[in-house]
Amino acid sequence: MPTFSPPSSATTTERRPPSRSEGPVLVMFSGGSDSTLTASLLSEQHTVVHLVTYEHSAMTFAAKSRNAAEALRVAHGAERFVHSMIDINGYMARIFLRPLPQDLRRYGTYALPMCCGSCKLSMHVRSILYCREHDIRYAADGSNAELSELFPEQMQPVLELYRGLYERYGIEYTNPVFDVNRSDHRLFERGVTAKRDYKTEHVVYSNQHSCAAGVMLYGFTLGVGLPLLGTSAKKDVATRYIADKIEQFCVPFLDAELERMSA
């Protein structure tokens, strides 16, 4: 089994998870190199890693994540991983789609690319429920600095809001590969993958889903944000949007669901 090795270069730094081997951990798992590396690292700290792949209508090929899950099982042992796929269409409808006209008035045009932020928030809400259903106290994902300039769900202030939401429900949320420069290289070095450069793939990937909404985010940035609005992303709007959604939807919904579960 590969060991937890130190970073291979100055630009590649993993946030070493706290040393513990106390129970299971949930990893939001797309099957891409960042979430696969997250799962690979955490498998050395936790007894079982619950790989949860989320899917909604705009995603295609979500089942490709099984390839990456299989690679993890081969590298670290089949008994260390539980893989499940969960639909989040209902959450997306309530957080993003139904309030979209009001959100466009309230937050401006950036409410449209916040589809990606809403998608991730839906995943977090479902993950909190999953953690409580399975008595899991730790959750992580493959959020990475490389994409934090463009994708609202990976911006640092937004990640802090997610962390606060997990804390509220007694769960510790971490981003172990946030500062890792090339997670695909690290996976190759750890013996998880046979291919070194699969992070250079575009739109259609070997191990993870493709998302029409993600393509639209690029379309918005390149076709509206940069040529008309003069900006590629609005971090302040993203933060305000997520904070409002947490207060207005996530907390009341989770409180009600958890109360229903405990009754």
Binding site: R98, L104, L147, K199, Y218, L222, G223, P227
Partner: protein, 121 residues
């Protein structure tokens, strides 16, 4: 951002990327508009149409009334140039970027078409 290469172009993004992005975005926008019109009797169709209207309103407000938008920045430059001709015109252009960016091109196009029609009819 190795997955898209945008990080290499933070200052000078090639025009072909903007054109491609614009094509993807506005083609989808028109497709959603048509879908919304075809399913206008359903709640989903009306939701899509309301969203598109709200998006266009926000876009107009942000481009024509926002201080940092590209049309606003150019209108600022144009108003500086217009100051020599007429301070009143310069003020008008500064406050309303839609004059040089929407109305003038539209009037010019209408004038050109009218001229062509009159010439060849």
């Amino acid at each position: 951002m190795p997955c898209c290469g945008l990080h290499e172009y933070r200052r000078t993004l090639p025009m072909k990327y903007m054109v491609a992005g614009g094509l993807v975005f506005w083609t989808t926008f028109i497709a959603v508009l048509l879908f919304g019109l075809l399913t206008v009797w359903s709640a989903r169709g009306r939701l899509l149409l309301r969203s598109e209207v709200a998006f266009l309103r926000s876009l107009w407000r942000e481009t024509m009334r926002g201080r940092d938008s590209i049309p606003a920045r150019w209108a600022c430059r144009f108003s500086g140039a217009a100051l020599r001709v007429s301070p009143r015109l310069a003020g008008l252009i500064y406050r309303h970027p839609e004059i040089p960016f929407v109305y003038v091109p539209l009037f010019a196009l209408a004038g050109l078409l009218s001229g062509l029609l009159l010439t060849f009819s």
